[in-house]
Structures are given as structure tokens and as C-alpha cells.
Symmetry: C2
Subunit: 370 residues, 2 copies
Amino acid sequence: MSDATITVLPGDGVGPEVTAQALQVLHAVEELYGHTFTVHQGLVGLAAIAAEGVAISETTFETCAHSDAILFGAIGSLPAGKNHSGGPRPEQALFRLRKEFGFFANLRPVRPVESRYDASPLKPEYLKGTDLIFVRELSAGLYYGHLESVPGKPSEIRRTGDEAEAIDTLLYTSHEIERVVRTAFEIAADRGGKLTSVDKANVLSSSVLWREVVARVARDYPTVTYEHMLVDACAMGLIRNPADFDVIVTENLFGDILTDEASMLTGSIGMLPSASLGQRRTESGSFGLYEPIHGSAPDIAGQDSANPIGAVLSAALLLRHSLGLHREASAVEKAVEDVIHQGYRTVDLHEGGCTVIGTQEMGQRIRDTL
Amino acid sequence: MSDATITVLPGDGVGPEVTAQALQVLHAVEELYGHTFTVHQGLVGLAAIAAEGVAISETTFETCAHSDAILFGAIGSLPAGKNHSGGPRPEQALFRLRKEFGFFANLRPVRPVESRYDASPLKPEYLKGTDLIFVRELSAGLYYGHLESVPGKPSEIRRTGDEAEAIDTLLYTSHEIERVVRTAFEIAADRGGKLTSVDKANVLSSSVLWREVVARVARDYPTVTYEHMLVDACAMGLIRNPADFDVIVTENLFGDILTDEASMLTGSIGMLPSASLGQRRTESGSFGLYEPIHGSAPDIAGQDSANPIGAVLSAALLLRHSLGLHREASAVEKAVEDVIHQGYRTVDLHEGGCTVIGTQEMGQRIRDTL
Ligand SMILES: CC(C)[C@H](C(=O)O)[C@@H](O)C(=O)O
Ligand SMILES: CC(C)[C@H](C(=O)O)[C@@H](O)C(=O)O
């Protein structure tokens, strides 16, 4: 029996729709397994800017701080042009949560459903055996270059007359590299698998340091085979031989790019969940933030057509990593797999003779299958 | 009748093998069309370090400077660990050529052969109509962060006791952005097509400036439709809807990653050519450097199994852009397409009932088809 506090931040666009389904799945788990989840809600992103004038308010931040886990939807973007106006930007909510809560490891598992490989643009024979997990560094690198105070990333565009110059800084300390690499080795050891560390060591100093730290940490994990791979080669390898990968660890921006690409192995970015974890412990796991990897997709918001699976699988990761409810997490994952296997799909997935259903029906079917 | 000087820098690994085929294709063009090409050869990369102690010697550099075009093979890497030892690194040759000759625009066309879509890991229906070209910025960004003197990029790893910190700088001036964006708009206008500008404007200051410059330059090209896209979305879109792209312009490292990924649309990185161009004019075109986008692939070097098509198509780009020989360039491209269509492939391509042939035979067949 678990007694846990969860803060839900639905955010913008399709965020509220998909989070609603994920939350209902959590409630179903609560009932089925006899747990008690106390749920708080808060605003983030454009929704928070509109209502509270900031991308995330202090109150919301505090509510998160006193929870075991955060279930996050998606945040929108400002219209182009307003992006650097100096006002609050929706992304700041995410950057602040990641940074201040020390969420340095972002786990993004990618596992296409075997009986439904046809959902992907790739030929089935290329997908055979694909089951990988990214460990993306989440609290340093270019995302935090020249970040002087956390909530407001100052403009680093310098203007002289008609000319302008913009600078971003890619900085990593060996400590920042080591903690995320260690997390990745732990996961690889648990899976009895291998680790691919991705960098651009033929160009970047930070990647040279990255390789050095990986080689050092590797000595503590003699059972794990590891390799270094350049980011360009990895972008290619993910399509050419996806089954060759097991655990992939990489820096923040490379992880951002490669995971969106890898979502195509499942057929849609709407399928992928993520867990952001740090040092802080809860009673039976890690304090964490859980979000689908897709964005707010304002063009399809409010149409009951968004894929809730990324959000639902994020809730499964929440059960596992923050609440220590492993059986429940696996049950949710199994229910998703079953519904996909039965031939139900949201419109983002290649139809392939399947039955196309809406956001809510997908959520309902997953709950019914639990 | 053209009278041109070409410097060939075969480099390392499979570089010499594929360049040899490309050069023979150029000689075939010379004979068939009655041109005179004066060819010089030089060392670069590991080959140059071994023989001359530097990644590219002053003499070789000067020879290049007095040519109309450079045909480049591939350069190897130092073994991991030796990468930051302070000695010469093979990549420096490439960085120096790109920087000192002002090659700011790197063109990378991607056009899978329609009758042979099965060479790709993607399903044929996803490839239908794919014909795109990348314009990658090549002389700024993270590649040149903290570059104090061109040939030796100083180590930016700072150590204090057991701790270390590494910094790379992503810097763009509006001038550097404008010239490459203008090149991309020119190409889009020529193709009667559209332009996708790829950045990470929700995170990077340099991308915010990038968008601003794109919007400004766009006013000079009212016939070209353009859009902004985030790099993560593009990494996904290239697999999901490759035919939706036409001309893609992006900064240096994003271009590096995305073009390797996009090579999978053709089935192999061995298929893709590139042209690096700057301001300098030759008699009938631009001074340029032409190289396949693949690397030195030391594991398969010397086995007559490398795919020479990327190198041969690079020679075609050389004919077009540096020598103004449009008809000849198209003839080479057509010959490559015909040989692929006839069902000949090197081993890097998915076999699919085709005849697998070696590097030399592939070169020979292309020449015979000319
Ligand atoms: C919304 C954006 C800032 C974010 C990122 O780049 O990290 C998103 O793409 C992600 O992957 O979580
Ligand atoms: C060899 C390497 C430095 C180079 C690059 O990163 O530019 C290569 O990957 C390329 O794409 O030309």
C-alpha cells in the first residue's frame, strides 16, 4: 500500500488532454491495487504566463517540491518574434524544474510493439529486436549556457549597428558528466546490456572530457560492455541498426535530437514517455518529473486526437521510479501494449488497417485492459 | 572546352579508393567532352601526419589555393585517448581548409533513386517524391569555438585536482548567418521550391538570431516560401515526411547530424556527395571543396568494398559548381542513377536481389554508362 503525493502540471496545447488520461490511469491503479494518491494541480507554460504572469509560480514550484513526483504535460512556445522579447518564456518552467530539482538524468525508453511494427516508417525487418533506452543529461550543456539567474536566461545577442553576434556556451564539469554516466551504467548493468556513449569528440572539448569520464566510470562496471560513438554516426545508426543499441547515454542537446528521431521507430513521437531523475529520494524511490517527449501540438489541441500513450507510459515510469510500484508500472505498460496489439491507434500512427480512436477512448481502453 | 586545375586529397582509410574512382570518372569526362584537367595530389589527415608531421602541409595548402577545385576523400581519427594529447589531429586539415578558404556553405543533396527505394530502411511509400538538399553552415559555430589560431584548436579543458570542466562556444555573427541563408534562398528560388530553416530557437540565443536573419533575408526572395523548424522536430520529420522537405538550411553541427541521418533515405551514407563553397570565384564558377559525406571507415579500407558513389557524385558537383560544366555534371549523375537502377550495389546497400559489386567495378560501370 502506497500513500503518495503527485503534482500534475498539464501545461499547454494537448498537454491537458493527455495528462487527463494518464491521471485517470493512475486513479485506476489506485483503486485496483489499494493505494492512495493525493493529487495537486498547477499551471505551467503559456497557461501560467496568462494566469499568473510567470512560466511557473513560486506556489506551484513549492507544491512540486513537496510531492513525490510531478506528472507533466507539455508546454507551448511563444509566437516567433516574441521569443527574445525579454518577457517570460514558457520553456523557462521546464528549465527551472529540471535545474532546481537537480533532474540530471532523463530516461527515454524506446520499445516498438513487435506485433505492430508496421506503425513505423521503417521496414519491420530493421526494427526486429529493438528495445533501447536513452539516458539524456538534462541539467547542463547548451541549455544552461550563460544562465545567470535561473528563471531568466539573459539575452546573449550583442548588437553593434546593423551587425549582431550571438553566443551560447556548452559547459560540462566532470561531476555533471559522471553522475549521468553512472546512472546509465547502473541501468545497463541491470539490463545485463551494453552502453553506447554518444559525443562529438573529434570536434568538442566537452566531448573529449565526456569520453575520459566514461572510460573512468566504466572501470566500476566490468560486466558492462561500452562503446563511444559520434553523434552523426548515431543519428544514422538509429535508423540503420536500431536493434544494435541498448542503453545510450549522451549530453543534453544531442539527447533532445536523437530521442525525437528515435521516436520514429515506434511510429510516432506520441508514443514515448520520459522520466527525469536526480539525487533526491522519496520513501520508495526517486523524486522525479514524468512527461511525454512530445510537445504541446497546438494545431491539434482540443480535438480529442492526441496520442495519450506517451503520457500514460510516463505515469507508468512514475509508478516505478518514484513510488517503487514495479508491478503496477509493468501492468500499465502491458495494458498499453495489449491495446496496440489489439489494433487500436490514434491518428498520429500509420493506420495500417487498424481502428483509429480518439484520445479519451485510447485512455479508456488502456484502463479497461489493466 | 574547359582547362581546369584540380587538387586531389585522398586522405585516409577508404578515401584513396573512392577518390580514385571519382578521379577516373573525371578523366572519362575529360576525354568524352574534350576538356583538360590538370591534377595535383596531396596528403591530408593521418596520412599527412605520418609523412609530414602535420594534418595538412603548407605546400599542400598552397597547391589547393592555386586550384579551381579540391576533390577530397576522407580523413581518419586518432585512436581514442590520443585525441587531446596536443599533437596534430587529422580533423584539423578539414577545419583549416573550410575556414581559411571561407567555405561557409556545404551543399548536401539527398535524392534516393525511385526505382530502387528498397535500398533504404524506410518503407518505399515514405520515400515517394523525396528530393532535398541541405545547405549546412560550415565555417562557424561549435566547430570553431575558442579557436585561437586556425591549425591548433587549444584544449578548453580546465583541471583543478580531480575535477575538470570543459567549454565549447557556439558563436554566430549575423554576417555568418546571412551569407549561408542567402545561398540557401538562392538555391530554393532556382528550384522553385521552399526553404526550411532549422534551429533550436526555444533554447539557443544563436538560434534566435538565426531566425531573425532568416526573416530579414526572406524579404529579398518573395517567391520562396519558408518555415522555421526546431532541430528535434526536423530529426523526426526527415524520417516521417522526407518528401515534405526541399531546401534545408542549418548551422554547422545540426547539419552534420541531420545529413548523416538523412543519408538513410538513400540506404547508405556511402551515397551522399557534398560541395563546400564560399565567396571566391573561378573562371566559370565557385572555388570549392568536394567530398563524400562518409568518413574514412578504416575497418573496410583496402577491401575494394567501399561505395564510391558519394565520391563520384562529389566529382559531379565539382564539374557543376567549380567548372561550370552543367551538362557533364548531369551526365555523371545520370550514369550513377542508371547503374543503381540496373541493380548494381556495393555491400553497404541493402541487397534486395541486386548484384553486389566492388568499389572498382562500380566506378568502371559508371564510366561505361557515361
Ligand atoms: C520544449 C523543449 C525546451 C524541450 C527540450 O528541448 O528539452 C523538449 O524538446 C524536450 O525534449 O523535452
Ligand atoms: C570528420 C568530421 C570532423 C566532419 C564534421 O563533423 O564536419 C564530418 O563528420 C563531416 O560531416 O564532414
